[in-house]
């Protein structure tokens, strides 16, 4: 109110004032984002640059890093374990993703109805999501134990003479790994799919029923297309997550038997921190980086083509 009574303030001063105010405004805005962004910059962007540099060096502690050009990358081509670890990771990723998502979808469909006591079931179904990989792996290590495990006992009761020593044979060890991945994946994705299913308007189903569509047809023609975007999202997230599996492997098989469950991140970790080939470990990480982004991009691409 008082400022209105100051006629002597010239235009220039007012303009300066406004600019100062604007400058302060912008500065203030940056103060809001700066703390969080410095964290992200320091621990997400800087490591990538550092990773690129490390991957061109020969670095073994305690010696300093020495630039060696592309040597790490040519070494990779002869590293059979690296190729095997990639192959294993792909098998695990696609196996656990496919199984996990199919089960998640089936369970979500099962839960997407009015039924007494459904809530209780739902509560328990989501438990694996909040349990760590280490604990999960320990439980299943015990369940699948070939001598005293409960599973082999049940199999014997059911009449199987010689149940397999699950974790001691290459094929079954990978199967167990996939099973655990799917178990976690199903629990994680069920609520996501359920939420997606519940957002489909009931009128669609009513119209379909009037047209005489049975439950299966309704699922294929209404439910599935309505949640495609969610399926793709879950696929991408599963790939990114499963590709980095390591805790379950460490507890369950430690990469064995005969490297049949040696996965990419475990191989990188071993090279870097157990064998002290840091430069090589970095170059392995760097190679996987675009590979993962490529899978993500491909999935998004494929899904958008299907939709259009």
């Amino acid at each position: 109110m008082k400022t209105e009574t100051v006629p002597s303030m010239n235009i220039k001063k007012a303009k300066n004032n406004r600019e100062l105010h604007k400058f302060k405004d912008i500065l203030g805005s940056y103060l809001f984002v700066l703390p969080a962004l410095s964290f992200l910059f320091l621990f997400s962007i800087v490591p990538i640059i550092y990773l690129i540099w490390l991957s061109f060096t020969d670095y073994s502690l305690p010696n300093p890093a020495v630039f060696i050009g592309l040597e790490n990358f040519s070494r990779m081509l002869e590293d059979k374990l690296f190729l095997k670890s990639i192959f294993n990771t792909l098998v695990y990723t696609f196996g656990s993703m496919a199984l996990g998502l199919v089960f998640a979808l089936a369970i979500a469909v099962l839960l997407n109805r009015q039924l007494k006591g459904l809530r209780i079931f739902k509560v328990f179904y989501f438990l694996p999501t909040i349990t760590s990989e280490v604990i999960t792996a320990m439980i299943f290590l015990w369940v699948f134990d070939n001598n005293l495990g409960i599973l082999n006992y049940l199999l014997k009761v059911l009449g199987m003479e010689n149940p397999p020593a699950w974790l001691l044979e290459p094929t079954t060890a990978m199967l167990i790994l996939i099973f655990i991945g799917a178990w976690r994946g199903a629990a994680y994705n069920t609520p996501i799919f359920l939420a997606a299913l519940q957002s489909v308007p009931q009128s669609y189903y009513e119209a379909a029923r009037l047209d005489g569509a049975n439950a299966w047809k309704q699922f294929i023609h209404i439910s599935l297309p309505s949640i495609t975007h969610m399926l793709v999202y879950s696929m991408v997230m599963s790939v990114i997550g499963s590709f980095q599996v390591v805790a379950v492997v460490d507890i369950l098989t430690n990469g064995g038997p005969m490297d049949s469950t040696m996965v990419a991140i475990k191989h990188i970790w071993q090279q870097s921190f157990e064998f002290n080939y840091v430069g090589y470990g970095a170059s392995l990480s760097l190679v996987l980086f675009p590979f993962l982004l490529l899978i993500t991009w491909l999935q998004l691409k494929l899904s958008s083509r299907k939709e259009s």
Binding site: G28, L110, P191, M230, Q244
Partner: protein, 283 residues
């Protein structure tokens, strides 16, 4: 008609119980093993219930192992990382949702991009950043709380999620507050934050959960037993007790319990959050 409904419902409940067995069975088996004696797990055929409940297994875990210390470490790490994430991410999310400043969209794109970075591939360079941290001892930040807490404290996901939340608050409220003489921080603190408690709680829960359950990063930077987090201590435990299954399962139960309790206490929030996790994929 009626009979077929009963048939259908029976099948449905049958399926529901079957799925329940698959998800819950392993936990029951873990607990039942945890309260058995070692002799009890060696018998054939295996018994579901222990012949006698050995609660002292949990006492043994608490007294004879370094699990309490690891528990404490995990708690400190998870709480501080969560506090940092909730506070700093909500500040940034407020700016991205409400303020205009040069480079805003580019910076937000950068935030989104960090969500795509696979953390497992960052472990090698981050380890050496920690080791070569300036103004610290010969081992840098290795084997310290800052290394366990800071690198994964702030997440792009939190900023993204909170921004989505903040955008739903009507702008009229801000304008009214401005007229009433609130500055930006006051608008953030008195209007935006109180109106978005569920979103903030969600970010807090998932921050806490991910730090409590994290394995690879603490495995890499926690060198001494004193700095082990709960997951690393459990793994060490497995080597130590080899096939003493009751002890291993008692350890696993102890480590799983805090999250399970939190899950049941905050059930509605979890339910909303678990389903909502996919909502980020819509756009």
């Amino acid at each position: 008609m009626k009979k077929s409904t009963i048939m259908k419902n029976t099948t449905l409940y049958g399926l529901l119980f079957f799925v329940l067995l698959i998800f819950l069975g392993p936990y029951i088996w873990m607990f039942m093993t945890a309260v058995k004696s070692q002799g009890d797990v060696m018998v054939w055929p295996p018994k579901i219930f222990p012949s006698e409940f050995h609660w002292e297994n949990f006492l043994k875990i608490w007294q004879e192992t370094n699990l309490p210390r690891a528990f404490f470490n995990s708690f400190i790490v998870a709480v501080i990382a969560t506090a940092i994430n909730v506070f700093l991410s909500s500040l940034a999310a407020f700016a991205f949702a409400r303020l205009t400043f040069p480079g805003r969209n580019k910076l937000f794109l950068m935030v989104l991009a960090t969500m795509m970075i696979p953390s497992g591939l960052m472990v090698v360079p981050l380890f050496f950043m920690m080791k070569n941290m300036p103004f610290s001892g010969p081992n840098g930040w290795l084997d310290s709380y800052p290394a366990l807490i800071l690198p994964f404290a702030v997440t792009g996901f939190a900023i993204f999620l909170l921004r989505q939340n903040f955008l739903t608050v009507p702008r009229e409220l801000d304008e009214q507050a401005t007229i009433d003489g609130c500055n930006k921080f006051q608008i953030f603190w008195r209007i935006i934050l109180p109106l978005n408690k569920p979103g903030l709680a969600l970010v807090a829960i998932f921050s806490f959960l991910s730090h409590w359950n994290e394995y690879l990063w603490p495995l890499t930077v926690a060198r001494s037993q004193e700095m082990y987090t709960i997951q690393i201590a459990l793994k060490a435990f497995q080597t130590q007790y080899n096939i003493d299954w009751p002890m291993i399962m008692a350890g696993a139960t102890t480590a799983a319990l805090p999250m399970i309790l939190l899950y049941f206490v905050l059930q509605p929030l979890f339910e909303q959050g678990l389903g909502g996790m996919g909502s980020t994929g819509k756009e």
